[in-house]
């Protein structure tokens, strides 16, 4: 009984301590710009649909950001996974691409910003679709190519690396077994390589999503951006509204953690076989 109470209270202990520290410090400092009270931030978070500093609500800005991340991330995954599978399986393809890709891997996504601006400027989905007015324009114009690029480049490498790793470490006996059972080359890919590498691919996708989400703020600081949670934070900072900055940061953290949890659940449920195999 005592042990159970302890194990339940243990994860709450650090946050509680943190909250107490925050309240005490905020009172001592008594300067909203440096550290607003927890109550102020909480008040913003419990009303996420309220318009703030005439930039739309917390929720709507998170949503805009989420759409950007999902698009940029999907593009990255759609390129990285097939490329990774082929690179992992065919040594020739690996040698062909690997050196080249390794040159780009160490470049931080943020370092791409000037080049990306030169390439895409402020063109957006609205530019390509030709929509120039109305509500749809506002939505589409929010999705700038420059942002998508920064997000995609952040997600690309972890997904690629994990996919290559996953495919390379597929037990050769499994591939041989499938061949002997009459699998065609295509079936070897679809029925053996991809399922066997899937846990590793999912792990890469999970890491990639985390990085994509982290690239968001830098992407939303790009010129032409007038919305998104990252933009809201930087804009609130110029207005010295530190409470909005913190509320925005917490939103980013919560959404990121929720997405990560989702992937973790998939890993746990779908790939329970893997833990035993690895052990």
């Amino acid at each position: 009984m005592k042990q159970r109470a302890l194990s339940l209270s243990l994860p709450v202990f650090v946050p509680a301590l943190f909250a107490v520290l925050w309240v005490v410090l905020a009172q001592r400092i008594a300067n909203q710009v440096i550290l607003p009270g927890m109550d102020q931030v909480a008040a913003l978070l419990v009303r996420p649909t309220e318009d703030l500093i005439s930039m739309g609500s917390l929720a709507s800005n998170v949503l805009v950001s989420l759409v950007r991340v999902i698009i940029g991330y999907s593009v990255a995954a759609l390129i990285a996974i097939p490329l990774g599978v082929v690179m992992g399986y065919y040594g020739v393809v690996f040698k062909f691409f690997n050196g080249f890709l390794n040159l780009f891997r160490p470049i931080p996504p943020l370092a791409w910003v000037p080049l990306v601006m030169a390439w895409f400027g402020i063109s957006s989905l609205a530019t390509v679709t030709g929509v120039e007015t109305g509500q749809l324009f506002i939505y589409l114009n929010n999705i700038k190519f420059s942002m998508l690029f920064i997000i995609a480049i952040g997600a690309f490498f972890p997904i690629l690396t994990s996919t290559i790793h996953g495919v390379r470490h597929v037990n050769a006996t499994l591939i041989d077994s499938a061949r002997v059972l009459g699998a065609s080359e295509r079936q070897v890919f679809s029925r053996v390589l991809i399922p066997a590498a899937m846990p590793s691919i999912i792990t890469g996708m999970r890491i990639g999503l985390g990085i994509a989400w982290m690239c968001l703020v830098s992407a939303e600081m790009l010129p032409g951006s007038l919305s998104g949670i990252g933009y809201m934070i930087t804009h609130a900072f110029t207005l010295a509204s530190t409470d909005i900055v913190i509320a925005g940061m917490i939103s980013i953290g919560v959404v990121g953690a929720l997405m990560d949890m989702m992937f973790h659940r998939i890993e746990q449920k779908k790939f329970s076989w893997r833990r035993q195999v690895d052990a």
Binding site: N171, T173, L174, D176, S177, A178, R179, V180, L181, G182, A183, S184, Q187, R191, V192, P195, A196, M198, F271, W273, R274, Q276, V277
Partner: protein, 254 residues
């Protein structure tokens, strides 16, 4: 009983060399010639590194020979085909599939419809006594159970010849003896031609009609023996011990 036995697999002058990472040439198999009669049970025994697994892999179409040929019913074997099955030592089951789906994998690759392939899977699972584990995943099974499933999977593809690469090599002694007996039952039921590679002389004497003794590096055939003992064989009879002893000596003195 006395009818002329047709040969189903003919291995002729088979050699295989590898190039190691240091660039050295390594002759793994040298000039191996062997014929396998239809419906027979052949065991290839030899020390590890004698290339016996390589011979099976070439016969299954997984690897190419450096010289020599393998013919199946007088057609050259160049790539895997459904007619020649291969059972591996371990880790061959697809870990993300249930036992039943593993056994149904061969028919699935061939495009057999779901109902038929499930029915066929169950048929062979019951032959190896594993039908009640149809919904289990491989990691939930013991080593012996996994090999039973692996045998059922190879059989469900309905091959003509079953090659087995040390199928019981990773099992404990007790399970091993159990599975040997079960394999003989399966063989008697299905009358497949079986070629089994092992480093256990006891296993070969217990199972085989024909024993092929190999030397190591390069792998060469030292001797071929016909085993003329009725099944089920008892390990207690003098003949069993004499034969085992003879083979062990053959293996040692080279």
């Amino acid at each position: 009983m006395t009818q002329e036995k047709k040969e189903i697999i003919a291995i002729d002058g088979l050699s295989k060399s590898f190039t190691t990472e240091k660039g050295e040439h390594l002759l793994a198999v040298e000039e191996v010639s062997l014929t396998i009669p239809e419906n027979s049970f052949t065991c290839i025994v030899g020390p590890s590194g004698c290339g016996k697994s390589t011979i099976l892999r070439i016969a299954a179409g997984l690897e190419k020979a450096t010289a020599g040929t393998v013919h199946y019913r007088s057609a050259p074997v160049t790539k895997p085909c459904g007619e020649i099955g291969l059972v591996f030592q371990e880790y061959s089951l697809f870990p993300w599939l249930t036992v039943r789906d593993n056994v149904a994998a061969g028919p699935e690759f061939a495009g057999v419809d779901k109902a038929t392939r499930h029915q066929r899977a169950m048929e062979y699972l019951s032959m190896v006594g594993m039908e009640e584990f149809k919904d289990a995943y491989p990691h939930e099974l013991s080593g012996g159970m996994k090999q039973r499933v692996a045998i059922a999977r190879a059989l469900a593809n309905e091959p003509d010849v079953l090659l087995m690469d040390e199928p019981f090599g990773a099992l404990d002694a007790h399970t091993r003896i159990l599975l040997q007996r079960e394999l003989l039952n399966v063989w008697e039921l299905t009358r497949k031609t079986i070629v089994l590679v092992t480093h256990s002389v006891d296993e070969a004497v217990y199972l085989a009609d024909q024993i092929v003794i190999m030397s190591s590096r390069p792998g060469r055939i030292l001797k071929k023996l016909e085993v003329d003992m009725a099944r089920p064989r008892s390990r207690a009879v003098p003949k069993f011990g004499e034969l085992t002893d003879f083979i062990l000596k053959e293996l040692e003195y080279r």
